[in-house]
Amino acid sequence: MTMTSPSKSRRLPVLRAWNRKERRELRRVRREEATQVELPEIEGPQVDIAPNDPALAYFQSNPEPVDIDTLKLDSPGITALREAGVKLVVPLVTQGELIGLLNLGPRLSEQEYSADDRKLLENLAGQAAPALRVAQLVKEQEAEVRRRERYEQELQVAQLIQQNFLPKELPDHAGWSLNAFYRPAREVGGDFYDFVDLPDGRLGVVVGDVTDKGVPAALVMASTRSVLRASAQRLIDPSKVLERVNDQLVPDMPPKMFVTCLYGVLEPDTGRFVFANAGHNLPCVQTEEGAFEPRAAGMPLGLIPGMSYEENEVVIGAGQAAMLYSDALPEAHGPGGEMFGFPSVLEVVGGTSRDDELIDPILDSLHRFTGPDWEQEDDITLVTLRRTAHVLNEPVSEIDLTDAGDDPGQVLAEFSVPSEAGNERAVMERVGEAVADYVLGSRLEMLKTAVAEATMNAIEHGNKLDASLLVEIRAWVDEGAVVVRVTDRGGGPEAPHAPEMPDIEAKLRGEQSPRGWGLFLIRNMVDDLNVITDDEHHIVELVVRTEEGEGR
């Protein structure tokens, strides 16, 4: 006697009763494996019954032993049962659902099944059916657990691939603050970003998004990144790079998948950012008047071969930034189902003040919009290119810094200007604004004059009016003093700005040049003046104590 249960598809494998030989086998197995016994799976011929077979409806509504030979029902299932030698079928029904059939061949005594036999079998079926149902449920649950485990494993693999191919560290370019933020959704999407070092100090910047999720998306992302890196080195022009990447991706792209991607080349010295776009979000660029999106059109990668891509370019100004990002930002939903939207992105980027990092304000604004219960729908990727134009790199920081100490305290301003006459005015105003909360009234006016003079010296003497050299400005407040540091490239053994004590009477008599007031003014405008010179740099630090800063 054997039992079977319908699978989801309602195809019913039919088992038959064990014969003597099989029962002997069972006893032998039990003897041999006295402690751990499993019933040997001995199956008879399989009989499949199609889900729409009328026999199934019949069995479900007649849950009692049925003589197959005398059953008058036009059913391929019944015919198949007869051919398999089944004489008696006992439907297993529990809670009104047919979950299996108990199929019996002819009695070994070659007699017909008696009324007692039938009664016994009916009782057996009544108890077996719920037990079998429980077993089925356990099996389904186990399958579900395994399915979940596989899914979790796949998620881990996808995350591993993705994280492995994201940059391990951010590039370090003098005068630039390059930042990235990547937060995968639970079901990892296909976002990626990358920085590629190019010849002549240029920097390739990539942000992309593979449609689809999980391992397939992660693999496409990895290959896109590799192809793009290789093409970027050879071709430079962003439009040509995307053309090449598209043509290489098309043949191997899995069906219904494609990649949106923005690729640009940054010239750190000039702030010029040339980019091409394959169906991705446009960059968001800060200007004095707010933010805008320079346009460039192009089809996503991997769809159609032979595509060409538009190029566009912007110049990122000192203290300003451009942000590249993926869909998840504008498409994030608020509690009422509305989307964050591109206007909000532009508004936040445009409203962030010069010299401030963009990522925190963007995320703050996003979280205010979505509320605390938000479940992130897709990967979020942000890449910001901010031109701080401060070039205080290693040679400067190695210098032992004077009274203000090595710890820069709270930085109030950090930027640089090209060495062009007249730029000292802009520096003066900018530093003036930055320190205005700490240095007040006439002392602020004096500090501004000192800053302008120190910057002018740096432009004219230190950097000799070479516009390609930058004068770096850093202002900070620390321990009761505001310090403004002005650094130029006029280092070396000789002090470039030799101090000179001006004598007005000698000047009026024509015995001394009327000029030479710069350093004198600086000294008299601030509380302390520190001058530091190394092989490369000349640094002037202006110190104003804030305790005395309450106007004068």
Partner: protein, 117 residues
């Protein structure tokens, strides 16, 4: 284009040089020309009116020293009005103030103009 202008007018025997904008290295020619124009009418004094001056740097100070030196050669009194407190302070610490007479405004300067000692 220079962001600095210097225009001369005569009032009560005083040559008034109205300065406007940023007094820095680029102001050289304009200031020079204005001084030349100012002394042509043989004035009793030259009044530098700083009312509209937004910025003076060390080069601007040097230009004033130059003009002052020439005025002293011509034995012309050099008067100053309209300086902000901040720049007046700078004129003091550079001792320019020792060689020029300060007035709060043009009115007071014209009335108070006296020959150089």
């Amino acid at each position: 284009m220079s962001p600095f202008e210097a225009n001369v007018r005569i009032r009560g025997g005083v040559a008034i040089v109205d300065l406007r904008g940023q007094l820095d290295g680029k102001a050289d020619d304009a200031l020079d020309g204005a001084y030349e124009a100012a002394i042509k009418g043989d004035p009793a004094a030259v009044l530098l009116n700083f009312e509209e001056v937004t910025y003076i740097n060390s080069t601007g100070i040097a230009l004033i020293v130059g003009v002052l030196a020439r005025a002293r050669k011509h034995e012309l009194a050099m008067l100053v009005c309209g300086l902000s407190d901040h720049y007046q302070h700078i004129f003091e610490i550079t001792r320019l103030a020792d060689f020029m007479q300060f007035f709060p405004d043009e009115e007071a300067a014209v009335v108070g103009a006296t020959p150089v000692v």
